[in-house]
Subunit: 360 residues, 2 copies
């Protein structure tokens, strides 16, 4: 499936294959295909050597589309055919957000690792339960924070930060505008806050994960947050704007803004940006487009004491997360992302959502 | 004096002359030249037809440099030669920030209008006193918010917003990085918080003015703010980072970040940006440089439902503020900027500074 850029919902990047296992060594299945991100999740795992064997969704239309893309996946009529299949190591899922936590617990209780689309939870209670089940079963609750893990310039930025190229990262500023798309293009749950959890919980979760990652924080406090519905009065359950500012345990801070206001004239689904402010320079990512300049994404701009540098990352970096996740599942390590990090990012976006002031 | 871009302190744009009065019709003087912005203030007034007649500063070196640039200005040894000169309509000044309020009151009490560099005040008490004197004397306390008033792409953005090109502006996001410059290049007051008022009071004041202007707000509440000193441990009085988020009376919000961390490799003193998020599109300003792309500033990017547009504003827009200010002084109107707006912007930055959490 080629990358398509018209909407974020179906943005499923394909990267350089870098198998970490032989065919048949790491079997996984897909369950609940409510969000198009499931294609990105499966692409990543397959390119890393994973073997997709089964798929389940209550909706035959979703399954039909899925097996057209992945003919190797056997459609099963009962989820137990996946959950009780001892050969399957991991279940990838992109359920309706409010179902993701309970589904993950069920998967882990069946002795499998779980790889869910973000946002991983819609309530702090779901998070607490997942922490409990995770600890009790020793299984993984991995999260597809695609706006970092599946964006080559974001991976490259992480490498530059680790090399100390901009000194200490003191602030992360993320802009995550998203295209709503034509009326009728979104499922009913998209407009039901009880199901998607609010805009900071949903697309805000990418942002808080990036904050923790790029500043190297394991702890943070939400200082302030806002949500609004400025432009969709006929959809009172939708939040089309949200922002949050956080203070990390190490003194670095974050500010993150998300919205559903991306205008139709932009050549992609959202002009996602990330600014990393360091004590010795800064990095700007123009993730999906170089607006009014070029259609290609993965633009990294680095300014340090020596000069201004443009680094084109498209097709050059790959997505190491997926291979590491597979190895982590097999080796019971945490090289892709620690469980604590994934849960902390989830906790922050839920806390932000909980304290957000509704301004419109 | 040609525009120089290596540091913001001496950034004094020159624009298309657009005189609104005949020579000798509007006499003004300059007093207190502590900040290089005085050159931008004088350039703007002169290009609009103002006649610079006198200058005063206790430091002969500052006066010497000034009269080299403006030989028409007569250096006076006593400030009363300006304050008591009935022919002078307005005093432009860029005193040490903590002296700006008291100086302005003195100027107004001498029956003249006052045009100060930002930030106009360092304490809420100074603001209250200026409001009182302003009201009692009927004189103007105008403020040089140069990062909007003296930036052609910012003027153009205001026009586009007024034309409704991006619908309702729901958020203003401003980044105001500034170059500190080599050690020893800044005066002592730069490191003394009692004198410069804190980073949100100082360079943050530009930002809050832009928030009010672009969202059309007359009232706003500071939701949260932060300050830090990340990189100058030997200058404990300096804040090198600050941010603030505000909620406007009309429901639009703002987020603004300022810092003194601009790396030496950037081709100008700061990669100032402004993002105006509207319900029907957005505008990005790359004010002083198009980083890693071009040295020229005044880049306006407009994305609406029709497409992505780049508008080069350099040399094409001019700076209407100065002519309007001169006319306002002569006609006792408020076309350049209302007094209420200037004072409210000042109030917000002082309030932000007061509640800011020190994170480092």
């Amino acid at each position: 499936m080629a990358t398509q850029k018209s909407d974020g919902m179906n943005y499923a990047p394909t990267g350089k294959p870098a198998p970490v296992v032989k065919p048949g060594e790491f079997l996984f299945a897909a369950m609940h295909l409510d969000h198009g991100h499931i294609y990105g999740q499966c692409n990543g795992l397959i390119e890393a050597g994973g073997t997709l064997v089964k798929v389940y969704d209550p909706d035959p239309a979703k399954v039909e589309r899925f097996v057209k893309t992945y003919p190797q996946a056997k459609a099963v009529a009962d989820p137990r055919e996946i959950l009780e299949d001892k050969a399957i190591r991991l279940v990838a899922a992109a359920a309706v957000p409010s179902d993701r936590g309970p589904l993950g617990c069920r998967v882990m209780q069946h002795g499998k690792d779980y790889f869910t689309d973000k946002s991983p939870f819609t309530t702090l209670e779901q998070l607490a339960e997942a922490r409990r089940v995770c600890s009790a079963t020793g299984r993984k609750y991995a999260v597809y924070f695609s706006e970092r893990l599946h964006v080559e310039c974001a991976i490259a930025a992480g490498d530059l930060v680790q090399q100390g190229r901009i000194g200490r990262v003191v602030q992360v500023l993320g802009l995550g505008p998203h295209r709503h798309g034509p009326a009728g293009s979104r499922p009913a749950w998209f407009y039901d806050k009880a199901k998607y959890g609010g805009i900071l919980c949903d697309i805000g979760s990418h942002q808080l994960e990036q904050f923790l990652f790029f500043t190297g924080n394991t702890e943070a406090t939400v200082q302030a947050a806002k949500v609004a519905n400025y432009h969709f009065p006929d959809q009172p359950g939708l939040e089309d704007f949200g922002d949050v500012t956080v203070i990390g345990g190490n003194g670095a801070t974050g500010y993150h803004r998300v919205d559903w206001l991306n205008p139709n004239g932009l050549g992609t689904w959202g002009d996602g940006r990330l600014f990393l402010l360091g004590t010795e320079g800064y990095i700007e990512l123009r993730k999906y487009i170089d607006v009014a300049q070029g259609k290609q994404g993965d633009n990294l701009i680095l300014v340090d004491h020596a000069g201004e540098h443009r680094i084109d990352c498209a097709g050059k970096v790959g997505f190491p997360f997926f291979g590491r996740l597979i190895r982590d599942c097999l080796d019971r390590t945490e090289t892709a992302m620690t469980q604590a990090h994934a849960f902390k990012a989830a906790e922050l976006c839920l806390q932000a959502q909980a304290i957000a002031v509704k301004v419109a």
